[in-house]
């Protein structure tokens, strides 16, 4: 995980009503391969804390993000959307495997973005 101070340098600001998710702003990652790497490089405990925080706010997050057209989303909302995509990425590790990596999987080593 990046940084030990909770709020990562790369994260940036979140929308006003989601300041409570600030400690998880380093999960605002634009590329799938980055989200996979962040999951693979986290402990289950770290994933669990992020998952719990995001699941609690998911209905509010979706309601807020739905206010914006996808192609004209303010930067702060985009970060929140990326965090929600990271929630998808970590969900099966928390809910299914109870470990950060796919059991018997090869993940980033195997799945290269194609066309």
């Amino acid at each position: 995980m990046r940084g030990g101070d909770g709020i990562a340098k790369s994260g940036g600001a979140l929308p006003e009503s989601f300041q409570d998710l600030g400690p998880f702003a380093h999960w605002a990652l634009s590329a799938e391969v980055e989200r996979m790497a962040a999951r693979e490089n986290s402990t289950l405990e770290e994933l669990q804390v992020f998952y719990d925080a995001m699941m609690r706010r998911l209905p509010a997050i979706v309601e807020y993000l739905n206010l914006f057209p996808l192609d004209r989303m303010p930067e702060e909302a985009q970060r929140l959307l990326q965090m929600a995509l990271s929630l998808n990425e970590v969900s099966f590790a928390v809910e299914r495997y109870r470990q950060p990596r796919v059991i018997n999987g090869r993940e980033r080593a195997r799945f290269f973005p194609g066309q």
Binding site: L87, G105, R106
Partner: protein, 393 residues
């Protein structure tokens, strides 16, 4: 529930397929691979993508059909027609387009001597043309490759013996066109595998493994026996092709995020595909799989293409198609479904290489198939039949 939970149902429905073990030799034999090259891949209709990636006139993609030593350029002409060509310059055979995709603005120009072709494949420009001998540009266009489109999916054939519709047989009646025009390419992966293409394909082509290999990810997601072993709802064969369907288990308990994503996927509804059940798996012979999923508001499609590179090497292409998301809720629920399936395929892929290694050791000479693996039985029978046809039908 429409699924009949019984044993040996498909052997009764398809007695012609028999019940004997299937020989493994065809998955490891270099000689058999050479026959597949000549008698299957050079003569079959092969899917190379979807028209949704060619929205504008001049848009093109280049696809490697390595087993036929061919590179195919598929381009939407200025007249709107999608055509396939060998990606080879008429002058001395150089590769024409070097990018995997692009847009032809004006001419496609060979970088060797700058011969230029328009988006319909006609040769339009030759530098220093007067210094050639009897040069007739009208006869020196790109070499066309038979190209046809079925519900937006582009198929090419290097030596067609029949039209695409004839080739697809009853599939065209079952897969009516509704919904397909909404599909957009949303995500794709490429996986290089040390496995025979049939070994990789077989791993997808049955439901028996679901309760075992996917025991963490989708326990009891589909209807099955008390033991949890999946029972397909229906299996049908159309000439060389197959389709099977599965039904969701009403007793399935979704995880918190599955329940949340299911709930937020509320549309607007605009992509309903011609499905009879929530999960449908088509194998269009030889190497193209389309899987259809029913969603709360919209349906979606995953395709697999298994490109043989060598007897023990395969390029596995995975593509996810769905309607363009209209809001963040759709974007998230689509992403969840795609990430989930990527993980399913990661679990699947593990056995592609380990099964191939096992067969290559020659410790075993046969695949022992049970009734729910009937589509594999059909597929191998078709492969054997096609390879046995010397000069084509």
């Amino acid at each position: 529930m429409t699924t009949v939970i019984g044993n040996k149902r498909w052997a009764k429905k398809f007695p012609e397929l028999g019940t004997a073990p299937v020989a493994a030799e065809s998955c490891i034999s270099p000689e058999f691979f050479e026959l597949e090259r000549e008698r299957i891949f050079r003569r079959s209709w092969l899917c190379v993508g979807n028209v949704c990636v060619l929205p504008e006139r001049g848009d093109y993609i280049v696809r490697e059909v390595a087993i036929c030593d061919a590179q195919i350029l598929v381009m939407r002409g200025q007249d709107g027609v999608v055509r396939g060509f060998h990606n080879v310059c008429s002058h001395r055979g150089n590769t024409l387009a070097w990018d995997e995709s692009g847009r032809c603005r004006g001419y496609m120009t060979c970088n060797f001597h700058s011969w230029g072709y328009d988006s319909t494949g006609q040769l339009k420009w030759v530098p220093d043309a007067e210094n050639f001998f009897d040069l007739d540009k009208s006869k020196l266009g790109l070499t066309p490759v038979a190209t046809e489109i079925f519900n937006g999916f582009i198929f090419i054939n290097l030596d067609p013996r029949e039209t695409l519709a004839e080739y697809l047989d009853g599939v065209t009646q079952r897969l009516t066109p509704e919904g397909f025009d909404q599909l957009r390419l949303q995500r794709s992966y490429r996986v290089n595998e040390r496995a025979n293409w049939k070994v990789a394909l077989d791993a997808q082509n049955e439901g028996y493994h679901v309760s075992s290999q996917h025991r963490y990810l989708m326990p009891n997601l589909f209807v099955g026996t008390d033991e949890g072993c999946l029972r397909l709802e229906d299996v049908s064969f159309f000439n060389r092709h197959s389709v099977y369907t599965a039904e969701l288990n009403a007793a399935y308990r979704p995880t918190p995020i599955e329940a949340a994503m299911f709930q937020i996927d509320q549309g607007p509804s605009r992509c309903r595909l011609p499905m009879r059940n929530v999960f449908e798996f088509y194998l269009l012979f030889p190497n193209f799989v389309m899987i259809f999923f029913r969603g709360p508001a919209n349906d979606s499609c995953i395709t697999h293409t298994f490109w043989p590179l060598a007897v023990d090497r395969t390029l596995w292409e995975i593509r996810f198609y769905g309607p363009d998301p209209q809001n963040a809720a759709e974007r998230l629920s689509q992403d969840f479904m795609q990430v989930f399936n990527r993980v399913v395929f990661d679990e699947d892929a593990t056995a592609h290489e380990t099964v191939h290694a096992g067969l290559a050791s020659r410790a075993k000479q046969h695949l022992i198939l049970q009734d729910e693996e009937v589509a594999i039985r059909h597929f191998h029978k078709v492969v054997d039949e096609q390879v046995a046809i010397r000069n084509g039908a």
